[in-house]
Symmetry: C2
Subunit: 445 residues, 2 copies
């Protein structure tokens, strides 16, 4: 490919690994928008090859056949910029390491690999003096990693709460809107292409946990890995939970939360990273995030509350984040400048879920008889859990008659998981309790 544009004499060879949903869009934009990208970069970005497993596989975008190769390793060795969009751990990891060894700039959207091996990859890139960028790995098109790293570089983040998985937000939003049960909302998400054939990684919270680890690492200048994240998915959330939350002015979202906490024993600050279904007030900015959209809500000492909202997945939106990284990295290659991997300047300990205090929402099916509220209140007090609000609704049969039982909905003040668990155990032992229908954390009040 001859470079006829003499105003941009420099050409950077770009290797693309993977031509799936996102990769095909990245290739299309690199080819179609070559001139405007060159103007913004100061160098031509020449797509020299696309490594795939099967050259003849059907693709969303028609791309020049001569660009395809099955020899990813050879492609990487001849490139200035390597865009890794294969996903999964191998061969992505080996190819990224090869790229780093050859001094190539690496751009990846591989959250699974970064959550497991990020710290060692960042170190190798730093040691080799090459750039490793991964804006697309968290919240798709939303610029979130660069603002945390650069724009908030002079501030101190105290808490990050993110809706970072579009599949689960679609499901919970559908349940909230239509009253559907989880299984039906999941089926609808699958039918519409928002959930994969095997939705486990999404609905069990693993995908959100990987993103939570990356967000926590950048926000708190400390490296967290996937195993540091306490993770609970949404499979146990029922239509009754959603309805009760709605009734009390809340909406249930799957949040990835990273927050700095003082440890109870005075051992200094640490960081809790966790993913779980969470009640948030309906007037909270995160409550207005519908469908498969993502958003990340940040609290910082000086900036106060910030929120970043946009599409968390999809070929074209994610390609936007990939190309933002490519152009930014290429500008630095042209003009010289610092690499852009993580800044890890502090080492804060990981706090287990036991160290976290949150408010809780508890639903109880109880006997409708005098003294029930007093007995339950006493148990909360004995376990050191303070009640913020308690609401009782007497159950009625279809004919309108009371059936002898009542629904109790309790929102506590902040309590530790241990104290809350002890309270719930004690309540289960009461003969006036038919069942504990839900126990969910509350944030953002």
């Amino acid at each position: 490919m001859a470079d006829t544009d003499t105003t941009h004499p420099k050409t950077l060879k770009v290797a693309l690994l993977g031509a799936g949903n996102v990769g095909a869009q990245v290739a299309r934009i690199l080819l179609d928008d070559a001139d405007s990208l060159a103007a913004r970069t100061g160098a031509r970005l020449e797509l020299v090859g696309i490594a795939v497993r099967n050259i003849d596989a059907p693709r969303e975008v028609e791309l020049p056949r001569e660009l395809f190769t099955t020899d990813a390793s050879a492609l990487v060795r001849g490139a200035d910029v390597v865009i890794e969009l294969m996903g999964g751990l191998e061969p992505a990891r080996t190819l990224i390491l090869e790229a780093i060894e050859h001094g190539a700039t690496v751009v990846t959207g591989n959250k699974a690999l970064l959550a497991v091996d990020g710290p060692s990859l960042y170190e190798k890139a730093d040691a080799a003096g090459v750039q490793l960028s991964y804006e697309a790995a968290v919240a798709g098109a939303i610029p979130i990693l660069r603002p945390i790293r650069d724009s908030l570089a002079g501030d101190k983040i105290t808490r990050v709460m993110g809706i970072v998985n579009g599949t689960t937000n679609f499901i919970l939003d559908a349940m909230d809107t239509t009253g559907a049960e989880f299984a039906d909302a999941l089926a609808e998400a699958t039918r519409l292409g928002y959930a994969e054939a095997d939705p486990t990684a999404d609905i069990e919270g693993h995908d959100a946990a990987a993103k939570g680890a990356i967000l926590a690492s950048l926000s708190f200048h400390t490296r967290f890995a996937l195993e540091d994240v306490h993770c609970q998915g949404i499979t146990q959330v029922t239509a009754d939970d959603i309805a009760a939350a709605k009734d009390a002015g809340f909406v249930i979202k799957l949040l990835a939360i990273a927050e700095k906490l003082e440890t109870a024993d005075g051992g200094g600050p640490g960081v809790s990273v966790r993913v779980h279904p969470t009640l948030i007030p309906r007037e909270h900015p995160l409550a207005a995030v519908h469908g498969a959209f993502n958003a990340v809500f940040i609290e910082a000492e000086s900036a106060g509350e910030l929120m970043f909202y946009g599409r968390g997945a999809g070929g074209t939106p994610t390609a936007s984040a990939i190309l933002g990284d490519v152009v930014s990295a290429a500008r630095r290659m042209v003009l010289g400048g610092p690499g852009r991997t993580e800044t890890t300047t502090g080492v804060l300990p990981v706090l287990g879920i036991d160290a976290v205090t949150t408010q809780y929402y508890i639903g109880l099916d109880a006997a409708d008889q005098p003294g029930v509220l007093a007995k339950i209140s006493a148990l909360f007090a004995q376990n050191g859990v303070s009640i913020e609000t308690m609401r009782q609704t007497v159950h009625r049969e279809n004919d309108g008659h009371e059936n002898g039982s009542a629904e109790l909905r309790i929102v506590t003040h902040r309590a530790s998981e241990a104290a809350l668990a002890a309270t719930v155990e004690a309540i289960k032992g009461l003969d006036i309790i038919n069942s504990v229908t839900s126990v969910l954390r509350v944030e953002g009040v």
Copy 2:
């Protein structure tokens, strides 16, 4: 001030110009958080002086008296980083030019100066090879300029709509919530400190227009100045407008809008930059921006819809943006790297308000008699303006009797300002029309 930290041997001398609301907070953080800023920067940021007009003026934060000086020019000449927070055109402009000449990195939050003189300042900084950063100039604490410039560097922005003035958002939100008239809501904003003693720059839209020019310049890689912005403030918005909008499912916000448009005569694309009160649907993400908060909503070809939300003003939030720029710029000074002024790669023409088509909301007070709707509809059709919805409410006296007049609320399809103005003129000439109660643009539908 001896530098005893041997792990950060480099020290950058920081000069602060201005110790008002924002400047005092910047000084406090530079002094209080010196160690953590040094760890993140790779160099100590030593505050060497604070230039003020009156050393003995009362300030929000107690600062070491020996740092104060009235000789701003001498302070600038001895600094590596100059933070300009004086506001206004002079002496800010002269001091920034001095800093650039001396090779200092400049960080400013001075939107008024940038909107007037930005292009010439950026050119001088580029020519001198120094960095000029101004994240705080638009939407306070919200990281918006860096995401547009870097994260979306590989994408094409098609439209930006921002709530970029907290005072007017507070006033309109109060009117929406309480039903208050403009004057009362303004008085409340003044009482609470959200509006200045002379609120002209805010309520007439001039402040939003300055920010709109900066946003448009970055988004469309073309330099726009204040005089390129069509500007209409909120002083004419009435409680009736707000109530009628609410009734129709809209909320009224003062938006700064920059969008790329194809010109009607086929002359290629251009950019319209404008500020005006705008109806947006209540389910639009911008509708959920309450009080004095700011938000910028971006539409890009690949990324789709993005929104950035946070505090648009206030000493501490704005200080966060200033320090983000300082740390990012200082990192590049330590490690070497490209400057970060605007990338201006294209020159798109400025389009006047005549080139813009939007939907319109029109409120009419009309006679309640047969044939009124037909006459009005005919006038719209004659002027080439198509009606999307038309709603008629018969006016009643307090005793419930109809009073012979009706309120008509019309939402049009997209129309040019010229066609709309001609329609409104024609309608005013009808004897069945008592008055045209409001004409407002609609976006985000």
